[in-house]
Structure formats: structure tokens, C-alpha cells
């Protein structure tokens, strides 16, 4: 160890680098874990928003579901 005086660390060494429950982009089967993306290639409004997503789906089943972003 070099003789450099340091203060008390602000962060506890056991702070996790990843928060449980939050998906990582690099993990396997990322597509299946993306909310609002369906296996058949379609999507629903949950892709764009988490706020009352069902209310933002199309009003008729024949309509394509095109969430904005």
C-alpha cells in the first residue's frame, strides 16, 4: 500500500453493482424479457408506457397495435 492518507469511503464496499429485478440489456433472451414485445413480432402499448397501458391499446381487435415509441 502506498502511504496516501484517504478519508472514510462514502460507499460501502458491498453496494451491489446491479439492482435485483432490473433487466440488463446484455442478458440472454433479452427480447423475451422486453415488456410489450410479443413472440410473433407484434407489440402492445406496454412497450411505450407503464401508465394504464391497456387503455392505450387499439379500440378494435382488427386494428394494428402501433405504440408510439
Amino acid at each position: 500500500m502506498a502511504e496516501i492518507r484517504t478519508g472514510k469511503p462514502d460507499v460501502a464496499p458491498d453496494t451491489p453493482s446491479h439492482t435485483k429485478g432490473v433487466r440488463q440489456g446484455n442478458e440472454k433472451s433479452a427480447y423475451a424479457n422486453e415488456v410489450g414485445h410479443h413472440e410473433d413480432g407484434t407489440a402492445d402499448s406496454r412497450r411505450s408506457t407503464g401508465i394504464r397501458p391497456k387503455k392505450r391499446d387499439p379500440i378494435l381487435p382488427v386494428m394494428p397495435n402501433l405504440p408510439p415509441g
Binding site: Y31, G41, A43, P64, G69
Partner: protein, 597 residues
């Protein structure tokens, strides 16, 4: 800027005058053309093309994460980097065993179509036409300009210029109407590109397995409205090109010899068809033939193959005049392709780059460019294929192959028919590019404007297909994948100015070997180990000179037209040296800028 160093007055008849243009082209100016000109007989006696810049992508790609390849190789070029990203994605898809979802494939095709439109327009109208503009022709061939003032333009009704000289005036840099309009158009086409691939020229939304573009209907309608904005410009450009180039044939009999070489063209195909492509090597022949620009090799007007497997296995990287050591004693990476065919040691999959910097010597080694050749099957002929600047080979192979059949573009076996819809001013128009008699400077340039129309027409088809999927609710644009420990892959695409291939070998999950082969190594290659000159050298060597100026105020415009017809990227700094028959001082260390003196 062109700087001309005047020669000492009076060179003797029959004496060869050495002239060099270094750098020409390619963003950091790494291409030089060294010629010996026989002014008495008005011919170019000898030509060497040389590159003084070492890039080394194949060296520093080793050991990197293969997923980064598209982002790194994009930086090879500052104008067509996205072609590298796309080609890298094709190669990676093969290595990872995945394919893009259909909508992602259409988005990629739309981006690439916009890139062709953007790049060809800016190169043709803002760089090539400077060689054909009123100011240049007045300086080099005043008699031709006088004639142009009296020659009516046959397509005046389309483009609105009454005489050929009026078109040439519109080509004048910074002032001419076409020059200025082309800058606006290339802005619009760049916007189209950015809608699809996120950023120009290094895409931010193109990855193996798909794209990150959010496929909202607005993305496609924004693209379509911009496309319709420029569609009339495309029609006018083709008409103007036809008028000017036909006039040159007429005004300067024998001009077909400028930049002429044997028809030896290569095209590696562009625009994948998502219904067919699965990126497996085993089925590469089928999905290669389904591409919306057909891959192929044409020699003397005959289509030798359209099979991407044949094309792949025939590639040989020769040395001979290049600053590298041979790699034949290194260990091969790929001895057999996935179909069991043997892969040559001189194939890009097995290449190891061993640079050896040294003095430039035109009798020995004189370039950093290697000599890619294509081995004609069943023979020992290593063909020095050129790309005809890109569009020429693309239209040639597509026309001959007779495979492309879409609502807007049709191949007929001897021509390509391109239908463009009604625009703001001009009605619906069908253009037809017919296979010309020669492979020369004017035909390479003419093909470029037709290919802008081709890309525009194809883009209309792609937009319709993509919107069809979106309307059906299919908005999937990316696919999961895992990087295998061991894999190989190859990608074939068309960079704007011609053939582009990426060859990839993965070991231990990292890149073990990666070789991109863009068009300029093919076109600008030096003499190979068999002594065969590269296409620039071949096209310029023994070429007649039509310029009316003598050695004292020679501009070299015919040579420039010949070399620029191959679209050697950006002829941004052209310096000229007039040696008056003296031997150039051979103090060369292969370094950029050494001849600026």
C-alpha cells in the same frame, strides 16, 4: 484544390513528361497517380497508382469483441461508413447463425438506398461535374465549349437548359444551379438515411440481428415525403447526364478511349430480400441471387457467375508491388468453407497482414494497397476486376442476370428499366439503362446518375413493403443472439463505389481474423505478382489526351476524368507536379504529404 507547378518552358517533341497527382482521392489523400505522358503523340505512356497511407484495420481488429466490428469498421470511410456497418452485420449474422427480422431488413435496405442516393449525388454533381463544367472546359478545350454554346440539349424539356453550354454553366462549382441544388438534395437524402440508421455516416442503430430504429409509421412516411421531394431532381439529373456525355462523344471523336479498359467487372450485390435471406453460408447462392442488386462477375460482356459462393472462393489477395511480407508460411485460419470447398491461403479468411514500410520504387514495391484479384474458375487467370465506380458494375450484372423483378425496377437481360412516379413538376417517367459498348470514363459516370434513379425506385418498393408490415402490426426489428466461441462468417455488400466484403474468423469468442475488402483496393491496386496492372493503371495507361493545352499549362483533365470515373472517394486535395522530363527525386518515405514540397 488543384495546384499546378509550371514546367520549365519547352519540352522536346517525343519526350516523355513525368506528371504526378498525389494525393488524389480518399479522405486523407492516400492515392497518387504517377504518369509519363508523350505529348508529341498525345498519349499517356505509363501509369502507376500508389497509396502512401497504411490503415491496418485487419491488424488492430484482432482480439476485439466481434460485436464491435460494425462500429469499428464503419470508421474506415467518412462517406460510406454505413456500408461497412451493414456488411459487418451480414458477416456477423452468418457467424452467429441468426437473421434480421423482415422489418429490420427493409429498414436496412431503406438506409442503404438513401446512402447511395446521397453519396452518388454529392460525388457526381459536386465533384465529378467540376471536370465537365464550363469553367474547366473553357480552360482545357475552348473549341468544345464554343461548340457546346451552339448545340441544343436534346432533353431540354426535362431539365430546362436550352444548350449543352448552359448545362455546363450550371455545373460550375459554388455558383452553378445544379451544383447548389445537389447540395440541398444531398442534405435531404442524408435526412432519409438518418431516419433509418440513426446517424450519418456511422450508424447508431444498426446491429447484428437487427436495428434499433423504432418502426413507427411516421418514420416511413417522413422518409417517403423526402424521397418524393427529390424524385424530380433524379429525373432531371439523368437527362442532363445523358445530354452532356452524348455531346462529349460527338464533339471529341475518340473520347470513348478515355479511361477505357476491358470489361472486367465485379459486383457483390446489395439489398437483401428478407423472404429469402437466412445468412447461412450453405444457402448463400440462393439468397445472393434474390438480392435486389444481383451479384456477379462480368468479363468481356459475359456474365461468368451470380453465385456468391463462387465469388467468395475466387477472391485472391496478391502481393507483388505492395509494402507487405507474404503470409503463406503463417497458419491458415479456414482450410475449408462450410460446404467443404477448399479455401486458398491467399483468400481473405486466411490473410495475415505483415506490413513492411519501405521506400517507394516504381520498379519494385510502390503502394500500401494490395492487389485483390478474382481467379476465373477453371483457369489460372487472376482477373483485375474493377467496380466501374460502383453503379456501372451493379447495373451491368443486374441487367445481364435478368433476376430483379419489382414493381419499379425490372431487369430485361440487356437493360434495366426504372420507373419513377409523378413528382411535383415532372410526370411519371420510365428510364432505361442499356448495356453500353465500352467500359470507359463517360459510361461509368453516366451509370452513376441512373443508379441514383435505381436506388430511389427501389426505396419506393422497400417503403411499401415496410409499411405493409407495420400496418399488419409486425414491428419486430431485432433478434437475440449469442456470440459463439468458434465461428466464421462473410458478408457481401456494395459500398457506394463498388464491391465490399468482410471476412471474419472468431476464436475464443474474440476476433481472430477480420479482413474488410472495400472497392478502392480493387480499383486502385498496383501491379500484382504476375505483373498485371490494377484498374486505374490499366485504364489510364495508353490513353489518348484530348486536352488542347500543351505541357506548360497542362491540367490533366482527361486523366482526372478517367481516374475520378471510378469514384475514388473524395478528390479533395489534388496537387500536380510538372517535371518537364526530369526524373522525380526519389527521396520517398511512404508518408502522406511528401510530394507537396
Amino acid at each position: 484544390m488543384t495546384t499546378t507547378e509550371r514546367a520549365p518552358a519547352g519540352s522536346e517533341p517525343g519526350q516523355l513528361v513525368e506528371m504526378s497527382w498525389d494525393p488524389i482521392t480518399r479522405i486523407i489523400g492516400n492515392l497518387g497517380i504517377y504518369t509519363k505522358i508523350d505529348f508529341a503523340n498525345r498519349r499517356v505512356a505509363e501509369c502507376h497508382s500508389t497509396s502512401s497511407l497504411f490503415r491496418g484495420y485487419s491488424v488492430f481488429m484482432k482480439g476485439k469483441d466481434p460485436r464491435d466490428a460494425g462500429f469499428i469498421t464503419s470508421r474506415i470511410c467518412g462517406i460510406c461508413g454505413d456500408n461497412h456497418t451493414t456488411c459487418s452485420v451480414y458477416a456477423q449474422n452468418m457467424a452467429y447463425g441468426i437473421k434480421n427480422p423482415p422489418l429490420a431488413e427493409w429498414i436496412l435496405n431503406l438506409g442503404e438506398a438513401a446512402e447511395y442516393m446521397f453519396d452518388h449525388t454529392i460525388f457526381q454533381d459536386n465533384l465529378v461535374f467540376v471536370d465537365f463544367c464550363e469553367a474547366m472546359v473553357k480552360d482545357t478545350n475552348p473549341s468544345v465549349l464554343r461548340r457546346a454554346r451552339d448545340t441544343e440539349a436534346p432533353n431540354a424539356a426535362v431539365h430546362g437548359f436550352r444548350t449543352i453550354a448552359e448545362i455546363m454553366e450550371a455545373f460550375n462549382p459554388f455558383e452553378g444551379a445544379v451544383y447548389k441544388e445537389a447540395l440541398q438534395v444531398s442534405r435531404t437524402t442524408r435526412e432519409m438515411f438518418c431516419l433509418m440508421e440513426g446517424r450519418h455516416v456511422h450508424p447508431s442503430t444498426v446491429y447484428p440481428g437487427g436495428v434499433g430504429t423504432m418502426p413507427t409509421p411516421t418514420v416511413f412516411t417522413d422518409y417517403l415525403s423526402r424521397l418524393m421531394d427529390v424524385i424530380d431532381f433524379v429525373k432531371k439529373a439523368v437527362a442532363m447526364n445523358d445530354d452532356v456525355f452524348d455531346f462529349f462523344y460527338e464533339a471529341l471523336p475518340g473520347y470513348e478511349e478515355v479511361g477505357r479498359r476491358r470489361v472486367m467487372l465485379g459486383c457483390w450485390g446489395a439489398f437483401q430480400d428478407p423472404a429469402v435471406v437466412d445468412y447461412r453460408y450453405e444457402t448463400m447462392n440462393q439468397w445472393g441471387k434474390a438480392m435486389f442488386v444481383t451479384p456477379g462477375v462480368v468479363v468481356d460482356g459475359e456474365l461468368l457467375t451470380t453465385d456468391l459462393v463462387d465469388i467468395n472462393l475466387g477472391i485472391r489477395i496478391l502481393l507483388g508491388s505492395s509494402f507487405y511480407d507474404d503470409w503463406v508460411n503463417e497458419e491458415p485460419f479456414v482450410t475449408h468453407d462450410p460446404l467443404g470447398n477448399p479455401v486458398d491461403m491467399r483468400h481473405p479468411w486466411n490473410q495475415t497482414t505483415l506490413p513492411v514500410p519501405q521506400k517507394r520504387d516504381f520498379d519494385d514495391k510502390y503502394s500500401w494497397v494490395m492487389s485483390p484479384r478474382w481467379l476465373r474458375p477453371g483457369t489460372d487467370e487472376h482477373l483485375a476486376l474493377d467496380t466501374g465506380g460502383g453503379p456501372f458494375a451493379r447495373l451491368y450484372t443486374t441487367a445481364l442476370a435478368n433476376l430483379v423483378d419489382t414493381p419499379y425496377v425490372k431487369s430485361t437481360g440487356s437493360s434495366v428499366q426504372i420507373s419513377l412516379p409523378k413528382g411535383r413538376d415532372l410526370p411519371e417517367t420510365t428510364l432505361e439503362w442499356r448495356i453500353p459498348q465500352w467500359s470507359n470514363a463517360l459510361e461509368r459516370n453516366r451509370a452513376r446518375s441512373y443508379f441514383v434513379a435505381y436506388a430511389a425506385a427501389m426505396a419506393l418498393h422497400f417503403v411499401e413493403q415496410a409499411l405493409g408490415l407495420v400496418r399488419a402490426g409486425d414491428t419486430k426489428v431485432f433478434e437475440d443472439f449469442e456470440v459463439p466461441d468458434e465461428a466464421i462468417g462473410c458478408g457481401f455488400h456494395e459500398a457506394v463505389r463498388g464491391v465490399l466484403s468482410h471476412h471474419l474468423v472468431i476464436r475464443d469468442g474474440k476476433i481472430a481474423n477480420y479482413h474488410p475488402y472495400p472497392p478502392t483496393p480493387w480499383n486502385g491496386s498496383p501491379r500484382d505478382s504476375f505483373g498485371t496492372p490494377g484498374p486505374y493503371e490499366d485504364a489510364v495507361q495508353d490513353m489518348p489526351i484530348f486536352e488542347e493545352n500543351g505541357p506548360d499549362d497542362f491540367r490533366g483533365v482527361d486523366i482526372m476524368r478517367a481516374v475520378r470515373s471510378f469514384d475514388p472517394c473524395l478528390p479533395c486535395g489534388v496537387h500536380m507536379y510538372l517535371g518537364g522530363g526530369r526524373t522525380l527525386q526519389k527521396l520517398h518515405s511512404p508518408m502522406f504529404g511528401s510530394t507537396h514540397g
